[in-house]
Every structure is written in C-alpha cells, then in structure tokens.
Point group: C2
C-alpha cells in the first residue's frame, strides 16, 4: 500500500463541525453526534415523534476525521497553526529554507508570558471554544471564556502545550478547572520500514480520545522516527529527553553530561516536541531516603540520575542547569513536566519522606521556570492506595503552587497483574476528581485508552463540568427509551458498545 | 462426559491448608501460595539465598480445590456443616426421610439471636479464622476474634448468610469491619441438559473469588435448576423470590398475591437459599416521586411492584406482610436483603428524593426484622457520580442503622457502554472503601469478577486491613526483585498475569 495509505477516522452518526473564533481567526473542530427521535404512542395509538438534539462532544481526532482533508500516511498533516504566526512579531525562522522557528531575540513568546500581559492568544481562544461543548442545552453560554483561560494560564494553574515547531497540533489545555485530559504513552523502537504502522497508531490513539502522546521510545533512528511521528500528530507530543541523551553516549550513564543533554533538548525542541519530562527534582540527599523503601527507585529517569549522582558524587545536572533548561524551553514554548524520579513503586511506599522531599524541590524549580514565563506541570503517582490519594494531591498542589498535576495511574493495589489498566483507571478517576489534570495510560491499547477516558469523564461529572453532564444525560435518556443505536453512538467506543 | 465430569480448581504454586477452630470443632480452608527465594550476589560473586514466606490468602474455592475431595459434576458437594447440627438443640428435620431442616417450635436459630445471647457459633468462629489470613507476618495475632465477630453480628452491623438447608456453604461474613466481599450474579434459564455447564460455572466463579452468588434466573424448571445449583454451591446463594412468584402466575403482574409469594419463600428457604432480595421498601407514595426522574424506575423488582400497586391501588404487599416474611426468614436463618426498587437508573437521578424516601422505609423494616433476630442487609447504588458516593453511604448507614450495605456498581458514568465493568469497578472500589460490605459484578465473566476483586482489595488496603497489605507487599517485593512467577502466582488471576 506504500505511503499513499489514507488515514481516515469515521465515527458512526457523527459529523465534523467547526466553531469559529470571535477574537482570532480560528476554527475549532468538534464532533456532532446525531440522535434519532423519541417515539411514543398516544391514547389513540398514534405515534408521537419528539426530536432529540444532536450532542456536540470534544474531538481529538484532528484532520483525520475531516472528510475535506486528505491525509496520506507519512506525508504529514496540515501545519494549520503556521498561519497564525504571520501576525506574530515574536517569531523568526531559523533558516529561510527550513521550517524551524524560534523566538526573536529579546522577546518572550510563551503562552504564560502573553497571559500575564493580558493578551488572549489564538491558542487561548481555541481551547476556550473546545471546552464549551454542548452547554447551550443547559441554558448556559460560554461557561469557559477566553479570558478565564488566560487568567488560569497567567496564574500557572493551567498550560497549553504549543511548541511553535509543532504547528500541526491543535491547542488543548491542561488544568484543574478544565476537562480532564488523557495521555497515551508509546514506547517502541521500530525500524524505518515499520513507521507507517506507527503513524497509523497515532490516528488510532486520536480516534479513541487521547489528548496528548508521550513517546518513551529508545534505540536507533530516534530522530527520524520522531520527526515522522510529530509531522503526523495533531495532539501535543512529549518525550523524556534523557533517554535520547543516554543513547548518544552509548547507554553509559557515567558519560552523560550537560552538553549532550542540552543539545538533545534543542534538537527535540526544534523538531516540535511540546512537553519535556525532566527529572530535575531528585537530588543526592534523596537517594539515602529511598533506600528505606520496599521498592527503592522505580522511575527509569530517576534511577539513571541517581546512578549518575552516585558515580560522579555530584548534584543532579538537571537541577544545577535548570535555569538554562528553562531558557531553551521558552525559546520554543515547550512545557517542562517535572518528572517524579522518586515516585513510589509499591503501595507500601506511597507518600513517603523521599517522595515528599522531591515535591518540595519541584516547588522551587517551578518558581525558577515561572520567572522566565515557562509553562510547567509536575508528574507523579505510581502506586498509591485510595486513602492516600487526597493527601497526595493536596501536598502536591501546596508544594507546587497549584501548577497542573499529571498522574500515571495511580495503581491502587499492586496485586492487579494482568489487569493493571483497571487498577490504574480506579486510581485515575479518583485522583482526577481530586485535582489532577492529565491522566495517562501506560500502553497504547484501545481498552486502556477507553478505561482512562471513562475515568476522566467520571471525574468531569464529579467536578460538575456541564458539558460532561449533557453527554451523560443524553446517553441515559437514549438507554431508557431503548434507542440503542443512539446510546452506542454517544459512548466512548461505539464499535464495542454495538457488540 | 456425562455426570462423572470432575470439577477441580488448581492454582499455581498453591496448596489448600486448613486451620482448626479452638472453640468449635471446625476446619477452615485457606490457600497457601509458595514463593521462591530471593537471590542476591555478595561482594565475592557468591549467591545469597533468602527465604520468602508463603502467603496465605482468603479462599473461596471450597471443596473444588481440595485434592482429597472428589467432586463429580451434578452429584453435589459435601454437606459439611450438617455435622455441626448434631450438637444443636434448635433444629428439626421436617421429614425423617428428607434432609430439609427448620427451627424447633419456640426456638430461634439465627446467628443474630445467638450473637445477642453471647454464644459463639461455629459459623462465627469460622469467619473469624477466615478473615485473619497471614497477619503473623505483621507481628499481629487474631486481628479479628470470634467475639469481635459475635459483637458485630449482635449489633446488626454484620451478617453471616447460613441457611440451615444449605450445609454445603462455607460461612462468610458481610460487614464494614471485615474484608470486602464480591457477589456474582448469574442470570439464565438453561434447559436441564445444559445444567452441567451451569454447575461448572459455579466452580469457576469460586475459582476467581466470588464470595456469594445471586441467581436472577427466570423461566421454566426454576425449582429443579436451583436445586442442582445449590447442592453444588460452596458459597451463599441468593435469589429474588418475586421472579419465581411472578412465573407461577404466568407472568401476569396483576395476579401476584401474598399467598403465592409466601409459598415461594418457603419453597426456596427449604431448598437452601441463603439470601432473599425483597423489595419491601417501595411504597405507593414513592411512585409519583419517581415520575420526575430522567430514567424513572429501572429496578426490575421495583417496576413489577409499582405496576402491581397501580393496578390494585393498594400498598406493596411485601411491605404489608413484612412481619410474616421475617417469620419465614428466621425459621431457616435466611438473610433479608432489602432491595432498592428506586435505585437511580441514571447518574442524573442519583441520591434524589425518591431514593432517600425509600431509604427511610428500609430503616423501619430493619427494625421489624431485628425484633425477630432476622439478619438484614440493604441493597443500593445503580448509577452514582463519584462526588455523591460518600453522601450516599452516609445516608444509607444513618437511615439503615448501620446494617451492612450491598452495592451493584455504582456506575460512575452512563457513557461507558461496552465497558460497564470498568465504570462499575471504579465506583465499587470507592463505595466499598467508604463502607459498603458487598459489591457485585452483574455478569458472571472472569474479567468482571477480577475487576471487582481488585476493587474490593483496593478498598481493603484503603481501610487498612492488615491481611490485604501483606499480600500487596509480597507482590510488590516479588516484582521489584524480578521474581515474575511469584508475582503472577500472588495476583488475582495468575493465568492471565502469566501472559
């Protein structure tokens, strides 16, 4: 089939609709799910038909579900956000022939910078429109306004991943006051001839509702693979740059150094990586604390850096160079997601001294990043019993000045082997309700993504997001009236619901 | 293969062990999971072996996992509890030739009666031993004593389903202070020649950890089918007697009456049904309240009775005859599980006036039952967003005088079509942590049972049950030390974990 394979997402009884911006020249894609009529019988045996409004839902499927756009595998998807740059005076092309952008000297171009300057960027208006699906049914208008988005970003409570070198990505917002988002992690190192399948996997993750994609791949051809993935990815794309830096020194932890890491950051930022996971908060003094644990240090990044610190008897170089890391991040508006090198690997180790000590360092790093208007979030979780979830969120919010929280899981028991996606969804639903803004599935499989979508939606309902309630009510009504097709079409996986 | 098909449950690296009673002559089956040694390398490159204790876990597999007992499909499993009756002076055989028992005139034989009389029955000691698995690892002894069990039963906060006509069943306890239990619902009406498969399904539910079985089957041969199921069932067995009563009047709701219902109760109690779900708390005055709902009355029992009340313009006959129902229940020590005829069928309807009104009636019925020392629990849930779970449990505990709570789900969103088991497990984990004692899977499928086992175990961890933590810690340690086989064997579904 070659490169010409078309990538198309089709949802049953749905159409792609666009809502246009008022402040900026933007159009925001949404999915409109049609419903059949409710039919009742009157006293004379006649049929009474009553219309059911279509339901408009948040749509992560990007250009793949737009029948007007033909996406051929490997050719890249439209760089629609580039058009917005024409009106910006803060961006330059690094080389007239390339399409790599960076900030103009002396300027700052991050969303946080503009938010604090009281400027509503196209990205802010875009996400405001996206978050407001279907609320007219409830008699509300613009529950989330562009200015509300701006204020949350200015306060550091929300972020919009939008590296200027990833103009293919639709802006989306991560923050406690918005819809809970779902990340999907991809983790493989495919030879170039298998990239097509990998690219199709992106379309497929978008189909089931992934809001962001974290690429944890290692091995050869990392640069080329990533290039093709990003050029076809309509959702923000994240990495752990440490993995590529380690690869550049042949996997020898001892040989890792700041120069190689810095070059890796720049290389990835120029490619368009929207989110860097950086384990800058694990320090020498924490290593001894982790020895007391049942399961020690289980984070891959954390364990690489703790070994590096022990070999060099030096402080974590990501911590000592954090100001410079922020300078690179702000040049392209990359999100810094502060990794949790000390996340607990067992329920027994949850919320322990080591984890809390790292949290306090995260708080300091966030202040450093915010000084340069770099957008930040923090990662955490791992393993956490249900009774410690609320405490964990409160501690993290307090220590990290309410910067958005990103959770892997948490796993609420270690005994769920083979069913980790269920233990993780149980934890994710609760932690998202309590305040986490982004939850993650660790494997890019359909049932895992859908489990997290259910968890996210349940949290949106519990938090009282009106749009979530509209969809739920429509589905309840369809089921009660035995409109089975409508109920299937309104659910997160219509194909499986139909079975 | 015919009736001779042997039913045997085998778990990897496990053996059946028995713990003997101190007060009563009883032996309690448990599962002992062996672990391999931890191997580390010392400074000279030599191997150091360190033993890992076997982990003893709660076992629902009954005689099926005892290699000393040969169970042939259809022949019935050992009636081991009958031996205990020899020492009782409160039981008579209804007919010297049959094996149907009932209470001796003038006596009361319920567990609650004995608990209030300060007598520790074999059933109480049995469950006390069962609940204490593996705590010696934590330096604790007898976390749960027989007298603690007795007190909880006397107070009505816990129940032991143990119809004297189901002597095949191993006693187990349902109450907030004990391990969270998992019910499995079976719902089919198979012709007699397919009963073998149905009986195998029981062994299979026990294998994956079902603590009770609710039979919601309807249709022909109900009596015969149930007889064969109960004779092969080592866990408590429940029904909704209304379904059989309705069948006896040819499915015509109007023709339902107390006489037929009463006969059905006696018939089922004599067969050995341990739990009757009785929708006695839905009243005429509630019907109007339910009209305001998005999804009306969705409980099958509730909808049958509301139609009956509307046709007859009379009060629910299960309510008006509740004293007599209790008299039948106490004759055999059947649990009355007060059904929630008004459980919400949509997240939108959760915790509404109708549901709360029914709750208050439940509270009155519980007092009536307790006057006769009948053991009671209450059912509820259905659909409930996460933010209403805690309120729901508190209201139910208050209105129902802390009688044990039994939850179907709850579903924390209506949008999970095709993945109901996940939405239900997310809700079940939370409601069990907050105080529900029995959670249920609505379909007897392996992934659904395991999802509920994970939810129950997560709740046990969150509630701080020491035995649950021992198993979790052993599993964490095995995973950290890369003893993969041990980790698999310690998890809830070793076969799937191995994949």
């Amino acid at each position: 089939m070659g490169d010409k394979r078309k990538m198309r997402i089709v949802y049953p009884s749905s159409e792609k609709v666009y809502v246009f911006g008022e402040v900026n020249k933007i159009k925001v894609g949404m999915r409109r799910i049609k419903q059949t009529d409710t039919i009742t019988i009157d006293s004379k045996g006649g049929k009474i038909r009553k219309k059911n409004n279509p339901v408009i839902v948040y749509d992560t499927s990007g250009p793949f579900s737009d029948s007007q756009v033909i996406v051929e595998n490997g050719k890249g998807i439209p760089r629609f956000r580039e058009e917005w740059y024409l009106r910006r005076k803060d961006i330059i092309k690094l080389d007239a022939l390339s399409s790599v952008y960076c900030v103009k000297p002396g300027k700052n171009l991050t969303q946080m910078y503009y938010a604090k300057r009281r400027v509503i960027t196209p990205e802010m208006e875009y996400v405001a429109i996206r978050e407001n699906q279907q609320i007219e049914d409830l008699g509300l208008k613009s529950y989330i306004t562009p200015d509300f988005v701006r204020k949350e970003i200015a306060a550091g409570r929300a972020i919009i991943p939008s590296n200027i070198n990833h103009p293919e990505a639709e802006p989306m917002i991560i923050g406690q006051k918005f819809l809970v988002k779902v990340n999907t992690t991809i983790n493989n190192s495919l030879p170039p001839h298998m990239m097509e399948e990998e690219i199709e996997k992106i379309a497929w993750c978008c189909k089931w509702g992934s809001d962001t994609l974290m690429d944890l791949s290692t091995g050869e051809n990392m640069h080329e693979s990533r290039e093709r993935l990003i050029r076809n990815c309509p959702i923000p794309f994240g990495t752990v740059p440490l993995y590529q830096a380690l690869d550049k020194v042949g996997g020898s932890i001892e040989d890792l150094n700041w120069a190689i890491y810095r070059d890796t950051l720049i290389e990835q930022a120029e490619q368009g990586v929207d989110i860097f996971t950086i384990h800058a908060a694990i320090l020498q003094e924490h290593i001894d604390q982790a020895v007391l644990r049942l399961n020690g240090i289980v984070s891959h990044g954390g364990s690489i850096l703790s070994k590096w610190m022990q070999m060099h008897k030096e402080e974590n170089f990501l911590f000592t160079h954090f100001v410079e890391i922020c300078e690179i991040a702000k040049t392209y508006d990359v999100i810094i997601s502060i990794g949790d090198g000390l996340r607990p690997g067992a329920v027994y180790d949850a919320n322990d001294t080591a984890q809390m000590a790292e949290l306090r360092v995260m708080g300091k790093l966030i202040n450093i990043a915010w000084k340069q208007f770099v957008q930040v979030m923090t990662e955490s979780s791992g393993h956490l019993p249900m009774n410690k979830i609320l405490d964990n969120v409160k501690e993290r919010q307090y220590a990290c000045h309410n910067a958005p929280l990103y959770s892997y899981g948490p796993m609420i028991t270690d005994a769920a082997c083979g069913y980790e996606y269920i233990a993780s969804a149980i934890g994710a639903a609760q932690i998202a309700w309590q305040g986490t803004s982004l939850i993650s599935c660790v494997i890019p499989e359909r049932h895992c993504i859908i489990a997290n979508k259910i968890a996210a939606h349940a949290a949106d309902l519990a938090k009282g997001h009106p749009g979530a309630q509209v969809r739920d009510n429509a589905l309840s009504k369809a089921r009660f009236e035995l409109r089975r097709k409508d109920a299937q079409n309104l659910s997160f996986d219509p194909e499986r619901a139909a079975k």
